[in-house]
């Protein structure tokens, strides 16, 4: 080493110059080692103090220690700066196309009839109805006889029925979910409030609005003081939950042997708000289900005294309701299960 050791101010300006040059963590580490490290220039300078005249040593030592503090601070600032710059650079670098499709697991979906059924049952659950199920392959006794549709009665012709090979007993594919009215009442004491979802079958040619294989929800409420007005109010609640809060409901007289009086329920058309359109055949109303007060014979045969108890029942077609809700015009699409159809129900309502 030639000449006199560098002064504190010389060291300072050199070190700060070099620090200003350091632009990444490695260079900063090198700088730290070269300047502030054990073998660094500052350490060297401190060790060289001993060579100074005694009276200068104290001042020089103080100056170098101040310098160390200053350089440590400068280093930390510089390091913060470099890190911040590096982060900024990385963030710029990581910019992506946010319109790329997301990275997902393959997504499935519930069948539209399932969604409609779940939604309907959910509404009725809130209204205090239990969900029960019954057999699809059902004795004619429950499908008809106990429902006030005796053998050889002309009303029986209304249900075009598929029959099952059997011996003495008549066995049907149930043409409606109504047999569960009787099975439920036979199995329990009043009060009764049940809904019965399930598949039903008719001997009926297929077209865009008719299926031989379809799904219903039956409803039954029996107690003292159950009235037709309760039926109207309950079904109005249901209609408003499913088709919108503004829906109006309307009864008209209809005939089902197991109810008296018997009615059909219509809602004002949700597509035109009742002013008339193609969906409602310009009538402003759309029929959604059949219902009525449980016939006294059905109550009595099921072990309920019709003088004391009254009740109502309804049966609605889930297929038809789903068609109405989504503007589907061919009932057969439910059972074709084309994925291009099913994918449209990935959006869920329940």
């Amino acid at each position: 080493m030639s000449g006199s050791p560098p002064t504190a101010s010389e060291l300072r300006s050199q070190a700060l110059d070099a620090l200003g040059q350091a632009s990444n963590q490695d260079e900063l580490s090198d700088w730290h080692r070269d300047v502030l490290g054990r073998q660094g220039s500052l350490g060297q300078a401190l060790r060289n103090i001993g060579q100074l005249p005694k009276e200068e040593r104290r001042d020089a030592g103080q100056a170098l220690n101040q310098l160390r503090q200053e350089l440590e601070t400068a280093f930390n600032d510089r390091q913060d700066q470099v890190r911040a710059d590096a982060l900024d650079a990385r963030l710029v670098d990581e910019r992506i196309d946010v319109t790329l499709p997301g990275r997902t697991q393959p997504m499935g979906g519930l069948h539209p009839l399932t969604q409609m059924q779940r939604e309907a049952l959910d509404v009725f659950a809130h209204l205090g109805f239990q969900t029960v199920e019954g057999p699809e392959v059902e004795y004619g006794y429950y499908s008809f006889d106990m429902l006030n549709i005796p053998k050889d009665h002309p009303a029986r012709d209304v249900w075009d029925t598929i029959f099952i090979d059997s011996g003495e007993k008549e066995i049907t594919l149930r043409p409606h979910t109504s047999p569960m009215q009787v099975r439920t009442m036979l199995a329990q004491d009043p009060p009764v409030r049940v809904v019965v979802p399930g598949r039903c079958y008719r001997y009926e040619a297929q077209d865009a609005t008719h299926e031989w294989h379809f799904q219903q929800i039956e409803g039954l409420a029996v107690d003292k003081h159950i009235t037709l007005a309760d039926l109207k109010g309950t079904l109005a609640e249901f209609a408003r939950q499913i088709f919108g809060a503004a829906r109006q409901v309307r009864f008209r007289c209809d005939y089902f042997p197991f109810v008296e009086p018997g009615v059909d329920l219509s809602i004002d058309c949700p597509f035109c708000d009742g002013s008339g359109c193609r969906v409602c055949s310009n009538s402003g109303w759309i029929e959604i289900l059949g219902a009525g007060m449980v016939h006294p014979n059905v109550l009595e045969w099921s072990g309920y005294d019709p003088e004391i108890y009254s009740g109502w029942a309804f049966g609605m077609g889930i297929d038809r309701l789903t068609m109405l809700r989504y503007g589907i015009n061919d009932i057969r699409s439910f059972y074709q299960n084309d994925l291009r159809f099913l994918r449209q129900f990935q959006r869920a309502r329940i």
């Binding site: 069948h111 059902e138 009665h153 009060p191 008296e260 059972y335």
Partner: protein
Amino acid sequence: MKVPVKWLKEFVETDLSAAEIARRMTMAGLEAENIERIGEDWDNVFVGEVVNVEPHPDADRLVLPTIAAGEHELRVVTGAPNIAAGQKVVLALAGARLIDGYSEELKYRTLKPSTIRGVRSEGMVCSEKELGLSDEHEGILVLADDAPVGVPLADYLGDEVIEFEITPNLVHAFSISGIARELAAILNEQAREPELVDVEALERRDDHVEIAAPEHCGRFTYTLFENVTIEPSPDWLQRRLIAAGLRPINNYVDISNYVMLELGHPTHPFDADKLASDEIIVRLAAPGETLTTIDHVARELDGETLVIADTERAVAVAGIMGGVDTEVSDDTSRVLLESAWFEANSVRRTSRQLRLTSDAGARFGRDIDPNGASVAAARIAELVRVIDPEARSVAFADKFLRPRERRPVAMRYTEIERLLGMTVPVERVVEIFERLDLQPEVVDESGTTVIKTSAPTYRNDINIAADLVEEVIRIHGYEHVPETLITGTAVPVSRSNERLVDQIAQNALVEAGLFQAQTYTMINEDDLLALSPDGNELPDLYGGYARPEEALVRATNPLRSDWVLMRPTMLPSILKIVAENLKYSPSVRLFETARTYQPNALDELPDERRAVVLAMSGERQAFGVETNEPDAMDFLDVKGAVEHLLTRLGGDAATFTAVEHPSLHPGRAAAVELDGVQIGVLGELHPRVAAHFGIEQRVAVAEIDLVVFAERFNAPWNVQPVGRHQPIQQDFAVAVEEATPAATVQAALQKGAGPLATEITLFDIYRGENVDAGTKSLAYRVTFAAPDRQPAEHEIERARDRIERAVGREVGGTLRT
């Protein structure tokens, strides 16, 4: 039933439009299905008169009539053979929209002036077919002599026809007058009665009728007409029959049909001279007796068939159809007009037995009013008087075995409020009942107001108080029923585990990326045969189920040969859907939760067992655009979905064991077992089975029972506290023979490691360098953890030793280092 509105308005006076009548009736229980408007598109079509007819100069078969119609008078060209001067005809002018009379199918054309064989024609005279009135196109339509010349045809012949659905309870409205009676009640009008002739005052021949089967026939009447002339009915009558959907035949048949439509009571005219005598016997057919009905079908009758007979033979199937030998024809001079009443069940049985339906049978089969028989006879006599004035009604016979009386039905006034949840003033109830001819009487029975009524004999649908309540509200108006909610006792909660399991399974498989299908529950034998590789025998396993010993659940009247059996497995149904979807979708992932049907003994209902079926085929969906291209889905994809499902259902203890299954790939099939019981099967379909369903690529399926999960649904499961201590993970590579199942190796690892190993995961399979041929190396990551401590070094060491021994002992493997 089709109801021409002009006819209806003969019985009830109203200005209401057809649409409004239809609406009001529908609300009250008679549903109008359709309104047809006859003459709706008869623009530029008028009633005309033929002034003269000149020959066509150049064509023998064409003539040139001149037609006058009000301000119009023009010469047209026609080929109609029946045109003559003085006739009233239908004149269409240019611009009229007519049906093409020469076209087989229904085709409209707009009339334009044209030149036919050199003669200019500005209009035409129309046939019935061209106007859409019937299929008749031989000649032109000739109108009645009193048709008003010059008026638009729509004003003269136009009508509206409402088609009502007649539900089984509405037999009293199965006629024009019955519907009119209903309408009158709704409108608070009085329905008119038809004009009648008092046939009962004619010479009586009651002893000429013998009812030998009184349980089938409650009444038989006939009216005898002499000096009759058989000819086409007048225009107006034909027109009404056509509008109501019947074909005119001749005047007597038409009158009989007309009265059936008008009053709802069927009758039948016989040629009296073709009967052995005027003696009529109503009896059961002798077994094997034959009768050729007017549709010219020879019918063999059984001993329960009620027939009308003369002293020698059967001449009609009672209540359904007459015989061809005794039908009225052009040379008939005496008509014996039957008007009777038959038991509904008897008529329905015979109709089914002979597979013979008719308008008469449809009415008798619903139990019409026996009192209507003589009214119909009286109405027919009146129409004969008008239409065939030369004819004479000479005698009347009536055997009335079971007269029907009005039926008393009473109702407590409070019943209205109890059933409807609203009140209707007692005066209003009485008014409604009076309008319906229920003859109400309000009485006080020890403090209770009771309304006594008597139902008319034509109302077989009013029997109990609830029926009266319906009459009140349907006439009063359902719009008055308020909307209320049920009050009173709440119902105890009971949720169905099966439904919950079903929902969880559906949700789990949707999470696993599958779409839910809902398929028809019926299949046929071929679908089951297709589940065996050779396709010619039933496999001994249907999906996850053993082939049942009982005959499968079979429909006796299947809608189509495709849908004969209630499916014992869901595999065929889902495979058909997969095959369809593969035509359009590269990746097909489907499942269905539904019932399978396992037969029980004769006359017992089958077990309907809830299960889930999965099918996956085609591309495995890539997880993002930057990842590698998709592979074809296989066994492990469907297994992954099944594992996901089992986890959600609490069945993650289920095991998978390689099995042979007739429908599945011999090397890629597994039985799913839970607690030692098989609950399902999964695997890739045997390629030949797949081919039977039209699938030429890999397809992996599974069928798993769900009931077992419902049964264990309420079993408690205990959550382990999460340890606060750091777990230790160590990797173990196990070299075993190629054939050793990974699950067995893992079980050995678990056995060796003991409870300290809380999780064992296979993360790599290696074959090749440093691993002997015929051997594979399975790498497992084992997590060691204890609730109360971090496992110590020496514990891990000991576990490692035990693992090594267990692997050697259980699967003949070695730990690689």
